[in-house]
Symmetry: C2
Subunit: 230 residues, 2 copies
């Protein structure tokens, strides 16, 4: 068995930063699985298109290609049932689907703070692609998207309230130990940490303490990966 | 075994409307349990204070009193493990804690649309209490809180996006069948339906179709309960 994972990066192949790829990095570690990382950049569409995907992560398990972080997490859970469960049962798997939606929207809410910094991680060809596609999406120059971020961050903190309340009641979304619910939500934070010096969290926020624990999980794979100590 | 449930109502004891009480009504039905309803009104503090609670729902199981919807759901899951599971395993129970936080905030986001209508369901003594306490919370007259609700509803629809995405992927938050995750989120909708003619959902919204199914669940206990056909 050899697993390989296409992971988004910029000029530095070690600095993988996609929130969706990080969900799977953490899920693989949770299952005690090793996967060879295949660095992938925004404009390398052909490399994954042959595996029927336009986006990363794409997991290769021998001849089989599995795309989309949610699908990959389910694939790993089903393929490796004897290893620690990502979902903790059928109810957890179903309810994690809604956390996945919430986590995706969390990421979307963080983009307007870091989009220019992501651009800064990329080589020239990717930069051109990224600027054009993202400025079309935001209908603004990247510089203008992030311009007032310091003024916006306090209001953004409200976005975290469901997570904050949860983490005052229990150590992890998964209860006493992290599960895929934690990796879903951690993904966007690690995306930000890998690409931007912008500070999202205050140290007195329960979410900060939780993120610290996530950074230390599995031998600190997330903390050791290139990023900003924010 | 006799279960009794203190449930919030106004002038009509049949029109129970607390979102938290509805979570437990649905959870009891899910478990196939009957509970005698004890109608309770905002100003009847003494009736539940002797059971060590300031709020409903309060479940009485013989001599034991259990307060707080989340605690009651966990109590029912543990006390009746052979009946259909509310959480579908340990992972589901842990992750439902975050859905519970999300659902509470959903309810809070709906209050400024219906707060005046809730007032209209109450008798004079409760009305006085409700107006004073809620106007202190909102720092506005109830009439002013709801005044621009028609203009606000379109923006409020964005609140539902994590739910909407989930329900386009699967029939219920709990997967193929509803579980406590669904009851958590349904509670605020039933609260609104029981108290207000205000229309929160468009018929083409996947959330509308889901709410219809929840209204029909368990022999239609939610639909048959007094409310507005919105």
């Amino acid at each position: 068995m050899t697993l390989k994972l296409f992971e988004l990066c910029g000029t530095d192949p070690e600095r993988v930063f996609s929130p969706y790829c990080w969900r799977i990095r953490m899920a693989l570690a949770h299952k005690g699985l090793e996967a060879e990382s295949i660095p992938w950049r925004f404009t390398e569409k052909d490399a994954i298109r042959k595996h029927n995907s336009e986006r990363v992560p794409v997991l290769l398990d021998g001849d089989q290609a599995v795309a989309d972080s949610w699908v990959i997490a389910n694939y790993l859970e089903d393929k490796f049932p004897d290893r620690p469960s990502l979902f903790g049962g059928a109810g957890g798997r179903a309810m994690a689907r809604m956390l996945n939606s919430w986590g995706d929207l969390l990421g979307a809410s963080m983009a307007p703070f870091i989009i220019k910094d992501i651009h800064g991680q990329l080589g020239p060809v990717d930069q051109a692609y990224f600027r054009e596609s993202r400025e079309a999406r935001f209908k603004k120059k990247l510089e203008d998207v992030v311009a007032d971020r310091d003024a916006r961050i306090e209001n953004w903190h409200k976005t975290l309230e469901p997570l904050r309340v949860t983490l005052t009641a229990q150590p992890f979304i998964g209860g006493d130990r992290p599960n895929y619910g934690d990796y879903i939500v951690f993904g966007p934070f690690q995306w930000a940490r890998a690409t931007s010096p912008f500070r999202f969290l205050n140290e007195d926020d329960p979410v900060y303490a939780w993120r610290e624990k996530m950074l230390d999980a599995f031998g600190g794979i997330a903390r050791k990966s290139p990023g900003y100590a924010v």
